[in-house]
């Protein structure tokens, strides 16, 4: 059985992930900035010029939605195919296999950090200022990472047995762009649909970011409790599902 050092393994897998990703890009990590900037500009144009809204600081408002959304979709979809992509390793060395999708999620964190920097510089640039509720930010991001890890454990394992899982996830991500309040606010949602948003961790993260960064208030306690419960619950379920399925990986890879 494998008796190595878990943290060393994980750090090597993470490094592999982003070395491979960024080595072939001439501008490297700067590309991480391009996509959110383009989407933000397009949405800002549409919702201030074509369908004007009363929402102030619209670019910041949109980035609060885009940054967590971008990380979520990218980390989830790359982690889903991670076991297949690292099939050569999994077929050859008996490493703890859950390390592979988890390392892929963490490998996306550099990307996330850059986008967070972009978001925070917009916040300051729009004169919204720094407040003590910023201390909640690391908690909110940590919960998002926890949530993605849980989902990635499930989807990457299922993807080995049913290779189309990847495509299902791409569609889910497209749907999420509309279901997560990226370009509209909570107050615009009719009350009968509120339940969809209440237990949606990604929506909760967007709401939390907006209250911290734009309204200078702490996120609502009920929101934080729901977010924490769902994120940790998803991770727990992910670990259990992965544990159940991993013994059959070899036969299907």
């Amino acid at each position: 059985m494998w008796t190595g050092e878990y943290s060393f393994l994980l750090s090597n897998l993470i490094q592999k992930d982003f070395k491979v990703r960024y080595r072939n890009m001439s501008l490297g990590v700067l590309w991480s900035l391009l996509n959110p900037l383009v989407t933000m500009s397009a949405l800002t144009f549409v919702f201030t010029r074509i369908f004007p809204t009363s929402q102030p600081h619209y670019p910041v408002f949109v980035l609060c939605g885009l940054v967590p959304f971008n990380f979520f979709t990218l980390a989830w979809s790359t982690a889903t195919s991670s076991l297949i992509e690292n099939g050569a390793i999994i077929r050859r060395v008996p490493i703890p296999r859950e390390a592979v999708p988890i390392a892929t999620v963490f490998g996306n964190c550099l990307h996330l950090l850059i986008q967070i920097a972009l978001l925070l510089s917009f916040v300051i640039g729009f004169g919204l200022g720094i407040n003590r509720y910023w201390l909640w930010l690391p908690v909110v991001w940590a919960l998002e990472i926890t949530f993605v890890c849980g989902l990635a454990l499930i989807s990457s394992a299922v993807n080995i047995f049913v290779r189309d899982t990847r495509y299902v996830i791409e569609s889910v991500n497209t749907l999420l762009f509309w279901v997560v309040p990226i370009f509209y606010s909570f107050s615009a949602i009719p009350e009968r649909f509120h339940v969809i948003y209440r237990f949606n961790p990604l929506a909760a993260i967007v709401f939390a970011l907006r209250s911290i960064l734009m309204d200078s208030t702490a996120p609502a306690p009920s929101l934080l409790i729901n977010l924490t419960t769902v994120s940790i619950g998803t991770l727990a379920i992910g670990l259990v599902v992965f544990q159940r399925l991993k013994n059959d990986f070899y036969d299907y890879l």
């Binding site: 090597n12 070395k19 050569a88 299907y252």
Partner: protein
């Protein structure tokens, strides 16, 4: 030096009536195939990769596994390496296993030789500290000076194999699995690999060896196991098993 392992365990491999079956044809991977299987209750075709295999290998012994292609040799090695579980029976392995299966297949072409060596050391289960200790000897053994900061993409097949072999033999293993990989590099490097394996034998490591070459088997292993279509045909002293195997291949081909 590198053989002063941190794990002083008595290595042991024990197979007790082990069978390994594959119930799919290796293609049932898309949703369509899953649905088809559910709708049409076809009798499942079960393929036995190994059938009722028993043997044991004690600390310091070495065993050669011989047989034709598809005899179940790779499955047997995968079970020892802990890559899959048996469908029936019990597999017991004590000690750290270094699988030299498909050398270098875990390397990433876009990472440098050094990065790959470090990654693979961690995959093999070496600690951070131990990896930094053995990296110089890994590099030295692989004879890749001057190429270490180039990506593996630029390496020749021989260079990749050399690095793969070098990492595997530095993994502080108690059990070494060698799967016909020693077509590594040129003759001189092959000789170096064989020396290394002799060194392993000399310090009492357990060796599991898969080969078609009778000469190599005689050289390294006192016992042999002959597999055919997943079943054990014969096990015993290497000379006897090799002779019986040679007889049977001559009969079928002639």
């Amino acid at each position: 030096m590198i053989f002063t392992t941190t794990y002083d365990v008595m290595a042991l491999i024990k197979f007790d009536h082990v069978s390994k079956t594959f119930s799919h044809r290796g293609e049932a991977k898309l949703l369509r195939a899953h649905i088809r299987d559910r709708l049409k209750a076809q009798p499942k075709r079960v393929f036995y990769a190994l059938k009722d295999v028993s043997f044991s290998l004690e600390h310091g012994q070495s065993l050669a596994v011989i047989g034709r292609n598809g005899a179940g040799k790779s499955t047997l090695l995968s079970l020892v390496a802990g890559l899959c579980l048996p469908s029936a029976g019990q597999v017991k392995v004590i000690g750290r296993v270094a699988p030299l299966l498909q050398l270098g297949s875990g390397f990433h072409p876009d990472m440098t030789g050094m990065e790959n060596a470090r990654l693979n050391a961690s995959l093999m289960g070496l600690s951070r500290k131990r990896t930094e200790e053995v990296l110089p000897s890994i590099v030295e053994f692989a004879e890749l000076d001057g190429f270490l900061n180039d990506t593996i993409r630029t390496y020749s097949t021989g260079m990749v194999m050399r690095l793969g072999f070098s990492v595997a033999v530095h993994a502080d293993a108690d059990i070494l699995i060698i799967d016909e990989v020693l077509g590594v590099g040129d003759e001189r490097f092959q000789a170096k690999c064989f020396d290394k394996i002799h060194e392993f034998r000399a310090c009492g490591k357990t060796l599991l060896f898969v080969s078609h070459g009778a000469e190599m088997v005689r050289q390294y292993c006192e016992t042999a196991l002959w597999l055919d279509r997943g079943e054990v045909m014969l096990k015993g002293p290497a000379d006897q098993v090799l002779e019986a195997y040679a007889d049977s291949t001559q009969r079928t081909s002639g």
